[in-house]
Amino acid sequence: MRVLTLERAGAARRPGTLLTDAVIFAGGLATLYAVLGIGRNWLSPARPGAEITLAPAALPLYAFYSLWRMALAYVASLLFALAYGWVAARNRAAERLLIPLLDILQSIPVLSFLPGVMVAMVSLFPGREIGLELGSILLIFTGQVWNMAFSFYASLKGLPRELTEAATTYRFGAWQRFYQLDLPAGAIGLVWNSMMSVAGGWFFLMACEMFQLGNHDFRLPGLGSYLQTAANAGNLPAIFWGLGAMIAVILLLDQLVWRPLIAWAEKFKFEQVESTQAPRSAVLAVLRKSAALRWLRRRAFGPAWEELTLRFARHQQADGPKEANVWRPLVARGAGVAAVALVLYGTMRAGHILMGLTSSELSMLAHGAGATFLRVQAALIIGLLWTVPVGVTVGLRPRLAALVQPIAQVAASVPATALFPVLLLVLIRLGGGMGLAAILLMLLGTQWYLLFNVIAGAQAIPTDLLEAARLFRITGWERWRLLILPGIFPYLVTGLVTAAGGAWNASIVAEYSRFQGHVLATTGLGAIISQATESGNFSLLLASTVAMAVIVVTVNRLLWKRLYALAQNRFRLEA
């Protein structure tokens, strides 16, 4: 019987599967319990300013709360990104609007919305925890969704034409096209961007789990609030416990989620021949061996999936592919008109509010923007000064790279906002000012992008060029000028773009902080945003947020895009 071939191939039993199955079963049970628990917690009455206990025994629960927020925000981001990317790639009119919009949305410093969003959500659900929770989730969502959306869009646009033609000729319906063509084509990009997004998400989560607004003290139980409370109390052991828990959670996520996903996504690569160095994951291997999962797949998910797809396909065939829908264009046009009207109205109102700014406020904005601009540049320059030599040294030595990269990845995984209270504690003890602290925080958040890109760039310099340099005795500065700097240039630009964006965002938490009962602030656009929120000065908040977005977008357009084009055209090393 040939029909049995497929099943026989996977049926060989291997030892250890019983334990795996037990673990998987327990994991499922725990998730179910957690979902119910979270639901009960959310609907419970609000506990503004709930006490955060610093006992290490409470950390697993706090870690779990933080993780849960991340997971929800991530799922929302993924769904939204899929929809956004899909519409932008498939609809020409939408594409013209959505893609430039994406560029701007990506540049807006998310943290400037933090206070506003929180207040709005809390007042939407008065007396319930859910308002605060949704606020934090919404902020994380805004921070991580755009690059995922762009990645999916780019994957769809990059689909080989003949592949989409095959899908059309063989009459794929919308659903089959999505799960057999679009989703697989976007999978690898989505996985990598999800990793980046979630790493960025921790940054925002740490910032929004605990903050003060006027007299109100908003606290969500979680790792971020634990760390801030610990730093506020100057409790060093608690700080170490908190950081330890944070790193443990991130490492576990890496091992249990991202590595298996990357190894699994390998099959979605467009390649003509099998690569020899495919990423592997022990966890994935174990999951693949699990008899219970296989049973579920064959007996439950498989048939259900089959039923679903067949139903869709038959529905599609019966309908005929091109049924003209009278309503669709009308609805689309109506939605478009409504959107334009809304945007116009919003712009008018915003313009009206901005007109109300006093000249002293304007000059404060200009000063602040200048100060933050200089601070961002300082953070980038300091970052470059240490990452370029170190990165090149590491990148050119494969053995050293194998040693350093995992360590650097762990160090980079700790969100800068989690470290910030600790940093403030140290600086205040040493007598450093807030201006210095702000630069250091920006540096903490951005240097890793630079380091990883420099290492990657150095590793990408072809060996024969390095050998040629050695052969012609090109050493010292000449070697840097002729070979290394041009070689790492494209990577450096990529790193700088990301780093600059991150630094601007960090300025909002870095330049203004309440710590141990004191307000610590320095001149800067970020500080103005925070202050304006706290004092309820809406016109100033709007103006400062817009100013920051405009600066970031302008610098992107005028500087980074050009450098990027230069890097792509002149400094690309290709075989």
Binding site: L163, Q176, K267, V273, E274, P321
Partner: protein
């Protein structure tokens, strides 16, 4: 066979692309065509001439800008015809196994799991892929991948099987084997397919497989010739008639301006129409032109194009633009599939680098209108410099955006070689050089 009802009829089918500037570039001139059952029809033409577009229009994948495609006398609106396409790049889904790839079209038609599996296994057996069901495409060789492509096409039992350069991405031996196997399936009626429509640039391949050959001429493309291949299967490259037919197609492709009559062949369809008007520069590099002129001079100053391509182990497809460039520049003459070096060509071949550049410059300014235009435009400016964009705009009026870019790219390469101007790729500006 004309008593049989045609399966597909194209009536005045034309195609054009809208340019960003609002202009249109014509790809296909209005074409009338009928595809009858029990025949393999091959569409021949050089690359980029619009033959793939015609295939996509006939198969219902692309709607024509003008005219109508009828299937069994019914216009193609809404209901897709029962067709399959075999692609040059195979177009397999890399994340699906061989059997999942073959099952995908059946899944789209709502065929249940058991039936789907059975039919897929049967067709995989037919194309010689049994045992590879659970392999992923990347684990297969090119020939095996295209077998999957055939299996996926045949599993829906298409009425017409369309093939777009199906053997072009394969090595010579594999391509020959696959062609043989396809002919075996076709002639023994082991597949229910009623007609095959093959697009190719390989003349011998077309003559080996097809019952009827359509030759498509350059843009906007129209059918230059349409004839039946009066040879029994299996066909052999050594048959004298085979050679005669190859030569005939050759002549049409190398001298599109003249009319060629196929000796004792039965014309099967519409006569040739429109020829091209403006001179387009073939996409050949100056180094390639110099090399070709040298080689032919070395071989006594003349050769048969067919032999030349064979000896150089090149596709005629790749050789043609270089020959055409040499002819345009007056370095060579082409006559009945033979190429001869002219006196200028000889001095070019024997000259040193400076003389070569001088001769190339003279020829280019005399005979290539685009280069002459660039030369005069640059001279007319006080600083002898202009952005390349300017000429692209001029070209856009006559060519598609893609072709305009190619024309300009080639012209810049020739102009730099001939030292007519310099080109700075960073600023994309042309700078005239005074001689």
């Amino acid at each position: 066979m004309s008593h049989l009802e045609p399966i597909i009829e194209a009536r005045g089918v034309a195609h054009s692309y809208a340019q960003p500037g609002g202009r249109c570039t014509d790809i296909l001139a209005p074409i009338d065509l009928a595809i009858e059952p029990d025949k393999i029809v091959a569409l021949l033409g050089s690359s980029g001439c619009g033959k793939s577009t015609l295939l996509r229009i006939l198969s219902g994948l692309v709607a024509p800008s003008a005219g109508q495609v009828l299937w069994h006398g019914q216009p193609l609106d809404g209901h897709p015809p029962n067709v399959a396409i075999v692609f040059q790049s195979f177009a397999l889904f890399p994340w699906l196994t061989v059997i999942e790839n073959v099952e995908a079209p059946l899944r789209a038609r709502g065929v249940g799991a058991f039936e789907r599996h059975k039919r897929a296994l049967r067709i995989l057996d037919t194309v010689g892929l049994d045992g590879f069901e659970t392999a992923y495409p990347k684990e297969l060789s090119g020939g095996m991948k295209q077998r999957v492509g055939f299996a996926r096409g045949l599993v829906v039992e298409p009425e017409v099987l369309f093939m777009d350069e199906p053997f072009s991405a394969l090595d010579v031996l594999t391509a020959e084997t696959l062609r043989g196997e396809l002919m075996e399936l076709w002639t023994t009626h082991r597949i229910p397919t009623r007609a095959i429509f093959l697009v190719t640039h390989n003349i011998e391949e077309a003559i080996e497989l097809a019952d009827r050959i359509l030759v498509l001429a350059h843009r906007p493309a129209s059918i230059r010739d349409d004839f039946s291949v009066d040879l029994p299967h299996p066909r052999n490259h050594t048959m004298p008639r085979f050679h005669e037919l190859v030569d005939h197609v050759y002549k049409i492709l190398t001298q599109p301006e003249e009319t060629h009559v196929l000796p004792s062949a039965r014309p099967a369809g519409a006569p040739a129409t429109a020829a091209e008007k403006h001179v387009a520069i073939p996409h050949a590099r100056s180094g390639g032109i110099a090399g070709l002129v040298e080689i032919i001079t070395d071989r006594g100053g003349g050769d048969d194009l067919y032999h030349l391509a064979e000896d150089l182990m090149m596709d005629v497809e790749d050789l043609l633009p270089i020959v055409e460039a040499a002819r345009l520049l007056g370095f060579a003459e082409v006559n009945e599939g033979d190429v001869r070096i002219t006196a200028t060509g000889r001095s070019f071949a024997e000259g040193d680098i400076e003389q070569r550049k001088k001769l190339f410059r003279q020829a280019a300014l005399e005979r290539i209108p685009l280069l002459r235009q660039i030369y005069h435009s640059l001279r007319a400016k006080s600083d002898h410099a202009l952005p390349a964009e300017f000429f692209r705009d001029v070209l856009d009026e006559r060519f598609s955006a893609e072709d305009a870019a190619r024309q300009l790219e080639t012209a810049i390469e020739w102009g730099r070689y001939a030292e007519i101007f310099d080109y700075d790729s960073a600023s994309e500006r042309l700078q005239g050089i005074e001689s």
